[in-house]
Subunit: 333 residues, 2 copies
């Protein structure tokens, strides 16, 4: 077999072979090897639950692929609530014609990323639909939430410091370059953030809110955090970390890095007293070396400032930022 | 807005409106209203985790729709391990052009089915892809597994009785009729099986293994249970429950109901001493009135009988049944 056919979706022998030869080989663990439709695993008092579907095109791109993305996205969503990611489920929707060689690379990449992030793939499902060799992957994740951990978008307080864990727009710029066949050295930042979040929690840094920066970019994420807390978020244009190649790329195409998606960056709202320590810990972690303090959460003086996000520009101006308008770049994740 | 556009997948304002006006309205609960990318909920010592994607065509069919199916499928997978279903995540992959009115009906159907099954939708995700108004839904589920509950496909024992909870092939025949535009009264059996499984567990019936009958049909499911236990499964052709219309439909088209999918039926392997009680409880439950004892698990005498499924035909013959060969009916669930 070198391509997926409708038979692989029938639930019979061909489906079994696909699972045995491709998925089980890479994902194998004690739980999956029970070959049940549902996994029974150890739980905990408080659990975090999330899901994400991945429809990125192309399936493989500089610095990553849909498989790595599908693990990172769900792992990062769990981390943003302060959970320790534990279990992952994956649902594959394969179009007829998917090349088996490519599927194998993507599945291996998922297995590698799951190992890196310390999660176990405990259940899966495969469907086959008509089409031309594309694929979608859904992952859901379960994590354990430690006692006393309370991180959520409503928890920001006046005086808190806003940190971003690294340079903006890398994933978006890599996908776009790939689609436009522009040759450059930009690579996607798709990565699991367990190391930086793990150190923040272990060192009891007072993190009030966290969000990973994905579709819609940093502006959308911070605007949602501002709206969730009813406070005023102010960020400094000059403080935003940006790779020179991405800066040039954006300049050339008239793109705003504040609305471009990453897949391995987060924004954290941290108590001012812990901001220095938080920055140090993030910078010391894998994928965090370019972290920067980019702004503050301010108290609201007038009603018009409630839930607002303001950018202080390099020239000293103030510009209110809203969530992304329009479609942005489709199929980025 | 009357149709989905790429903008609804951008992660910005249009995505927010879609969530607010369609998903939040039907799925609203305290956890979802926190509007986080990840839910934090109460856990338990042992949890069950599963996932399933749904790609059925047509999206709406006699007796159900992709929304109801997406809740039933995952709820039933949790139940088959003896878990009490609790949380559901849903990932929507919408093609451009999906009619908003249809999406609303499907989302309402999911909400109704979730209420019926007693599960809470705690997290979701929406992506939009190119296409022509189709949609895929992935659900993942988390359930709690009570102390001492050990139900898995390897647990069948010689002497156990095999029960099927109702008539075979209804869902498959309904989907096929709908696609072939054959007018008949066959309706899909898509339903959550929490009531029958709940009574079996509550009454401490010695259930050793359970599987819901989906893609691949009863033969595939029982063959997998036989293989999982290494024992010989024998079923009686004359005992198989079948609606007269489905029987006629199969006769006409040359289909074998043993390989046709259901979406609201299960096979249970029960200790012989409890078989009568199990049958009674299933028959007394919603969706279980046509339940029947259809066979037994036999000890293996020779190596060649290990993990085998045998059908005793109406004429007294014996026919070995394997898992489904070929694709069966594509996009049935």
């Amino acid at each position: 077999m070198d391509r997926i056919t409708m038979e692989h979706g029938g639930g019979g022998r061909a489906t079994g072979e696909l699972i045995g030869e491709i998925f089980a080989r890479e994902f194998s663990n004690e739980i999956l090897s029970e070959m049940e439709d549902c996994a029974v695993v150890l739980g905990d008092e408080r659990i975090a639950v999330t899901t994400d579907s991945f429809v990125v095109e192309p399936l493989e791109f500089p610095g990553g692929d849909i498989g790595r993305l599908s693990i990172c996205g769900t792992v990062n969503d769990l981390l943003m609530r302060g959970a320790k990611p534990r279990y992952i489920t994956c649902g594959f929707i394969l179009q007829e014609g998917v090349q088996i060689a490519q599927l194998k690379r993507i599945v291996r990449s998922m297995a590698d990323t799951a190992r890196e992030a310390g999660v176990t793939i405990v259940a899966g499902d495969t469907k086959v639909v008509e089409g031309a060799g594309g694929m979608y992957i859904n992952t859901a994740g379960v994590g354990f939430v430690g006692k006393g951990v309370e991180i959520s978008s409503g928890n920001s307080r006046p005086g808190d410091v806003i940190i971003v864990s690294g340079s903006l727009g890398d994933h978006h710029a890599a996908i776009l370059s790939s689609r436009m066949e522009i040759s450059n050295t930009i690579v996607s930042d798709n990565a699991p953030l367990h190391e930086m979040v793990g150190s923040l929690l272990r060192e009891h840094v007072a993190v009030h809110a966290m969000r990973d920066v994905t579709r819609g970019g940093l502006a959308t994420v911070l605007k949602e955090l501002a709206a969730g807390s009813g406070l005023l978020f102010e960020i400094e244009e000059e403080a935003l970390p940006l790779h020179p190649q991405v800066r040039d790329f954006c300049g050339l195409l008239g793109l705003d890095p504040l609305y471009m998606g990453n897949e391995g960056k987060m924004a954290a709202v941290v108590d001012a007293k812990d901001a220095g320590r938080a920055l140090e810990l993030i910078r010391a972690s894998r994928y965090g070396k370019d972290a920067a303090v980019i702004g503050r959460v301010e108290d609201v003086r007038g009603q018009k400032d409630r839930g607002k996000l303001v950018l202080r520009t390099a020239l000293g101006g103030r510009r209110a930022l809203d969530v992304l308008e329009g479609e942005g770049l489709p199929r980025i994740c």
